[in-house]
Symmetry: C2
Subunit: 334 residues, 2 copies
């Protein structure tokens, strides 16, 4: 009998997630019913937004239930098929559960190239991550050549793509990250014009001003909190703030407070806009096409942190909040 | 010799403006040079945004200088003309100084109808106030029939027009104001569906929820601070917040703090956007035409609080922060 592991949400994290919030169970590998495929998980995406689904709170997506499997974006191989659309050996991607094996009708999954080198890109630069960078910057940021773009979480999955697209669009790009190694990477690998290590900066607003004496036109925010405050002190008239995430606040147990931003918003005619990538779902083909083209042309560089083994999934997720990833964090199962 | 009074900024207000921040001087009535008109001030607009210009701070408009005259929107009569474009008896409007008489090249002034009944409307519903309501709601709010609109400062100059335009556009309109009399006026005169007296409400967020159980799609914010927080607790997915003003913060001497809003902005895909009406300057003719038509058709009702006498200008301005006005506050000089 072949067994298959599943990872359940054991209890809701208080503050930073711990391994003890997750539970592993083993069940017999399932068999696909008529119309179903049996999938073997190949790559698992771990993402900061999953922290939000672990809270028992209304959001744009249902919270995970205690005792039920976690789900995220996954690339999986079809190992048996009772479904006309897919055959053994195909690779599919979409939202799936943290299981070694699972069955699916595959209704919301799409087939991807089985080229080993590009499989994980479907979870990153050609997947939700790349599309988040692309649509956030394009649709909310409305970038114009010659403008200045600031990106926080700049060495992360989304931020590293945002900065690269910014350069393609002719912007001056400044990144904020949390280590000397990352800050160097932003310039050497992703072509950022300047970068700031926030862990070595006493006055972040002043550091931004030093690199952007004429102010910031677009701020792509993955972090929130103090980083957002510092960006707002440098925002230009008619500036755009793309509120993509607020990782600095996801593990807060108290309601966080900070300076009120509404006077700056009024005085400077600033737009702050939050989004989730599925707001642009109908335009995904456009996004994937553009990102693939830039990737093939060598204008976009893929950066991944790959962790190995099904048992590593929870720790890989936890490590996101320590910034242990460079680029997209994925777990390779086999 | 005919004398003419001028009101100067004597010193910068600390907290709420006081009469002692202003100084009256008298000078001889000036004579117009070649190409100039001599203007006699008829109506003076007092507006919350002038408080910002009394600070020594960078903003979208230069601060007033200490010892120099205050300026605001004014309707004035041409009493002498050495300018080909205008003749004695014409009424002009635009940004002018708080003076009984002044000369001007009239370059940035425009002629308005001399009909006594509509003169003051050029400072209100057909002027900056009406245009602020119109463009803010239309361009940032992007209202769709059947949506729910919340307005703060709802009995004020801008708010009362916003709510009425909301009704014309087929929205459900809820207003927040500061007295029973105003709250009644919102429903009886301006056609709001519901209204809340914040001075009699312990939990503003709960009061909003009571009137808008399905949440708020558009929030037109004139107030900021706690009122904004309460609105954000009720904001729907893809909601729009129009940051028009933050009168509750204009007199603050400390940097105000409050709950961080970025997680709500991200989770609910909210757009918060500040503006000043001059962002839409090229479209003003469209706005004035539409507002005039609604006014003539009886779809918009004009509401003014008219204070009399040049010497009353500072007090009328100060009274804005106590909410003593209903609709547009103007000072009639003669």
């Amino acid at each position: 009998m072949i067994m298959s592991k599943t990872i359940l949400l054991k209890n809701r994290p208080q503050g930073t997630p711990q391994n003890s919030n997750f539970e592993f169970i083993e069940e017999e590998k399932p068999s696909p019913k008529d119309g179903e495929v049996l999938l073997r998980t190949k790559y698992v995406s771990v993402d900061p937004y999953l922290r939000g689904r672990m809270r028992d709170e209304k959001s744009y997506i249902e919270p995970f239930e205690i005792g039920a499997p976690i789900a995220s974006a996954i690339v999986a191989e079809v190992v048996e098929s009772n479904n006309d659309r897919f055959e053994k050996g195909d690779f599919l991607t979409g939202s799936l559960e943290w299981k070694e094996y699972q069955t699916s009708t595959a209704e919301n999954l799409r087939k991807v190239s089985s080229d080993e080198n590009s499989l994980s890109a479907n979870l990153g630069i050609l997947g939700v991550t790349g599309l988040t960078a692309y649509f956030g910057l394009d649709r909310i940021g409305e970038p114009k050549e010659g403008e200045t773009l600031l990106v926080s979480g700049a060495a992360g999955a989304v931020g590293s793509v945002v900065g690269q697209i910014g350069k393609i669009k002719g912007l001056k790009v400044i990144g904020i990250a949390g280590s000397d190694e990352k800050v160097e990477l932003l310039k050497s690998k992703f072509g950022f014009d300047a970068s700031i290590n926030y862990n070595k900066t006493e006055d972040l607003a002043a550091a931004i001003k030093e690199h952007a004496p004429d102010g910031i036109d677009i701020y792509f925010d993955n972090v929130g909190s103090y980083t957002l405050d510092a960006a707002m002190k440098n925002i230009n008239r008619l500036g755009r703030v793309i509120n993509c995430g607020a990782i600095s606040l996801y593990n807060e147990t108290e309601k966080p407070t900070g300076p009120r931003l509404e006077t700056t918003i009024v005085k400077q005619s600033v737009k702050m806009q939050g989004f989730i990538v599925s707001n642009y779902q109908e335009h995904f083909p456009e996004g994937v096409k553009q990102l693939s083209q830039w990737l093939n042309d060598g204008k976009l560089v893929k950066e991944e942190t790959v962790v190995e083994g099904f048992d590593s999934i929870p720790q890989a997720f936890i490590d996101l909040f320590e910034g242990k990833n460079k680029g997209k964090m994925v777990v390779k199962i086999y």
